[in-house]
Amino acid sequence: MSLELDQVRWVAHLSRLELSEQELSSLGGQLASIVKYVDQLRAVNTEGVEPMAHALDLVNVLRDDAIVPSLPVSEALANAPARVGDHFAVPAVLD
């Protein structure tokens, strides 16, 4: 399995990572060798085996629907790179 540059570019887009041409080519090579290594799993017989997403048999936990204190706005915004009033500022999403 080799990774074409276009494919690497597509995965970078899905990952929301802007990469330089140099990064695209070096990452492409490294990913190709890692993918080649993990390809060994294709040969493992897993017929009838249930996928295991988690190590424990846990059930969902719900808490009581009670009002508890939440983070004050000033603290929630304290690490914001940009803000407008009591909001996080981002580039316009709608025209």
């Binding site: 690497v8 995965v11 970078a12 887009h13 899905l14 990952s15 929301r16 990572l17 802007e18 990469l19 990064e23 990452l27 490294q30 990913l31 060798s33 890692i34 993918v35 290594y37 993990v38 060994q40 799993l41 294709r42 493992v44 897993t46 085996v49 249930e50 996928p51 295991m52 997403a53 988690h54 190590a55 424990l56 846990l58 969902n60 936990v61 808490r63 983070l71 603290e75 929630a76 304290a78 690490n79 914001a80 790179p81 940009a82 996080f88 981002v90 580039p91 999403v93």
Partner: protein
Amino acid sequence: MSSAHNALVRLSASELVGKLQKGEVRSVDLAQAFIASCDKNEPAIQAFLHLDRQAILDAAEHSDSRRKAGEKLGPLAGLPIAIKDNMCQKGVPTTCASKILKGFKPPYSATVVERLQAAGAVPFGKTNLDEFAMGSSTENSAYQTTRNPWDTTRIPGGSSGGSAAAVAGCLAPLSLGSDTGGSIRQPASLCGIVGLKPTYGLISRYGLVAFASSLDQIGPFSHDVTGSALLLQALAGHDPRDTTCVNQPVPDYLADLDKPLAGLRVGVAREFFGEGLDSQVEKAVRAALDVYKSQGATIVDVSLPTSPHAVATYYLVATAEASSNLARFDGVRYGHRTERKGNLIEQYSRSRGEGFGAEVKRRIMLGTYALSSGYIDAYYLQSLKVRRLILQDFEKIFSQCDVLAGPTAPTAAFKVGEKSSDPLAMYLSDIYTISCNLAGISGISIPCGFTDNGLPIGLQLQGPQFAESKLLRAARMHEKATDWHTRRPALVG
């Protein structure tokens, strides 16, 4: 550093707790001793990303005044404990050794940090790690490369390399690490100390910056087994803020710690003694097995046939989870935001492209690829099926023995730079530790010898889920019969 300070920093955590409780030393004395030790050796070791000496002295003074006033104090009262910098401490910089979190100060503390403070401990700085805990050498930190206190031309292991080096170098008596594929046990082994990865779900992950949520687990580093048991006791137990943290009673890990286990069955998996294992490491591990035999334990030959597939399985499961978890770093609510103007998607991509280092990008890309349309069945789902086969291997093994013994890492500490250009070679240094996380079981690394050139070697013991009491007791049996845990690196003085 004064000789009194030097004598203090060499002691184990339980010895220091004893001295504090008897009034032989004050918390301030300890804080000063460990700060003096940092002044002397931190420039060479570089274990810490953040160390606020005044805050440490203030917390120690506060502890002493509470003790003087006769207040009821916790089991760790006055003891300095270093914290890996992927755990949030309110108001204290928490970077995950990433540029993307430079300057981030969490508005809340992780449950483990709250529990340390409730037990009376003095938080002693934030330690270096591979960026977002992704790595096996601590070379992937965006800020500095931590050095192994036994040989500063070598790596301390990773990803919790700062926490391991801090304890090994006597810069702190205890520390917290996190283990996703060996990130506590492997650096413990390479630094000649004890490191415990508890069962998945035993300790709350609330406030631990997530790497791979189904594998991550917080655990202790210490010079000896008692220190890890002491710290585990303070951390373990249900937390309503982490739904994967189990709600069941926590045993007393210290009560029977010194009592040897009668009829102990020690499993040895033949797959752990194959190609790639350094001969000196093998010799030390086999000598450790003889220690168990001499105490009446039975050695049981077992097999972990899925072992050759563990690294591949891990690098699909862990990266898939990481690609999803790290989506939160988008430069909107906290963390680095690009200066370049663009639309929202460009802002995300540029902030992340600028903020993440090479290994993190590599893993996000691999995980995204494994989850992408057309590949998810062949890669992600297949890895989850092999994961179940690995768990079934362990279930079979633990029906035949109580603990599984073997090397923690295939070699002793390697040189800085030796493997940093070959990601796959680096991944393979976790070959013996990775299955444990996939199965969610418990594992510990304890010192079991040194190579000819003075580098520590670790013995790994693994046990079933929630079998920490037995695991710690088994580890203690070896420790009582040997003196590896009493050695300190030459630079400590």
